[in-house]
């Protein structure tokens, strides 16, 4: 290992070593992907208008990442009035997002899914393996490094599938945290693209002057990710009629 590589590794590792004493709140927001289709635009004009309507609401919603020592929680902030809460579909859009609890010591992540009942889907922080690249860019005043990971996802039409998630983290902000269940990088994730959503840091408060409590979720049925996927419906072109018009 040459000296340059050693310095680079120290540059990456030091922020993680220093993460133990901090408490604060990072606020993220979303930039939704613009609708794309092979179909002629005129043939789905009304549908695209609907998708854009949802994006307008979604992109205005703040997501809080509260952290206290080794624990953190990522959730939709429903308290902050964003001015669009009276719009049709606002509640459904809020409910389309889950919350995530993370404990660095226990190396656990709990995704809280509220469906017909509440599920606590457990996984390990170590399940996410990052590939840190040499690519850099500035986000605000922070130099950020690109990292990617391949993880599994599930939707009723795709079933279990693999996806690549892209993150840009700032080594100068000593927090191995980020949106959703993503973290474990040597610096705060400033921007993260997961399928149709790009999460970005909207504001940071590293010395909060308000009460901030990080609570581990306990109410709900604890289940593994694999078992949760197993319970979900599967929609195909062949059984489509069972799911539409019903």
């Amino acid at each position: 290992m040459n000296l340059k590589t050693l310095y680079f590794l120290l540059f990456l590792i030091l922020p993680i070593l220093s993460f133990s004493q901090t408490k604060g709140r990072i606020v993220y927001r979303i930039a939704s992907e613009q609708p794309v289709s092979d179909e002629e635009e005129s043939k789905r004009k009304e549908f695209v208008e609907f998708l854009n309507y949802m994006s307008e609401i979604r992109d205005s919603i703040p997501f809080n990442l509260d952290f206290d020592k080794q624990e953190s929680v990522f959730y939709v902030d429903t308290e902050t009035n964003v001015g669009l809460s009276d719009k049709q579909g606002y509640d459904a859009i809020i409910k389309s997002f889950n919350s995530y609890y993370r404990n660095e010591d226990a190396k656990t992540v709990i995704e809280k899914i509220i469906a017909e009942r509440t599920y606590l889907v457990e996984s390990k922080t170590t399940d996410i393996i990052w590939n840190i690249t040499n690519e850099q860019k500035m986000i605000g005043n922070y130099t950020c490094i690109k990292a990617t990971t391949n993880v599994s996802g599930y939707t009723a039409t795709r079933g279990v599938f693999n996806k690549t998630v892209e993150a840009w983290f700032a080594p100068s902000i000593a927090l191995p945290l980020g949106p959703k269940n993503y973290g474990g990088l040597p610096g705060l994730i400033m921007e993260l693209t997961d399928m149709k959503f790009t999460y970005y840091v909207n504001s940071m408060n590293l010395e909060p002057d308000f009460d901030l409590e990080v609570k581990k979720p306990t109410r709900g049925k604890t289940i593994s990710r694999e078992d949760y996927y197993e319970m979900q419906p599967r929609i195909s072109r062949e059984n489509l009629k069972e799911f539409i018009g019903g």
């Binding site: 009304e46 459904a92 859009i93 039409t157 399928m195 419906p233 929609i235 009629k241």
Partner: protein, 78 residues
């Protein structure tokens, strides 16, 4: 009334594709079924439930079949 028409159109359409002995592949290749499926996939990718996605898929199918569907109808699925 309008929703009933759309619903009826959907069932008539789906019934016709199968009652004529159409194979699964033929159903899968139908452009309107494809549009409905794509719309549902898009909704699910956005994190909505299969029920909400199904409602949007139904409207997308009706739209594709020539029934008038406006953005406000889709909003009713949320």
């Amino acid at each position: 009334m309008k929703n009933s028409l759309i619903l009826m159109a959907t069932f008539l359409f789906l019934g016709s594709t199968t009652s004529k002995g159409a194979s699964v592949d033929v159903v899968a290749l139908d452009p309107c079924v494809e549009s409905a499926f794509d719309a549902m996939e898009e909704m699910l990718d956005f994190g909505f439930t299969p029920e909400q996605a199904g409602c949007v898929g139904n409207l997308r199918l009706a739209d594709c079949l020539g029934y008038e569907v406006i953005a406000g109808d889709y909003k009713g699925c949320l």
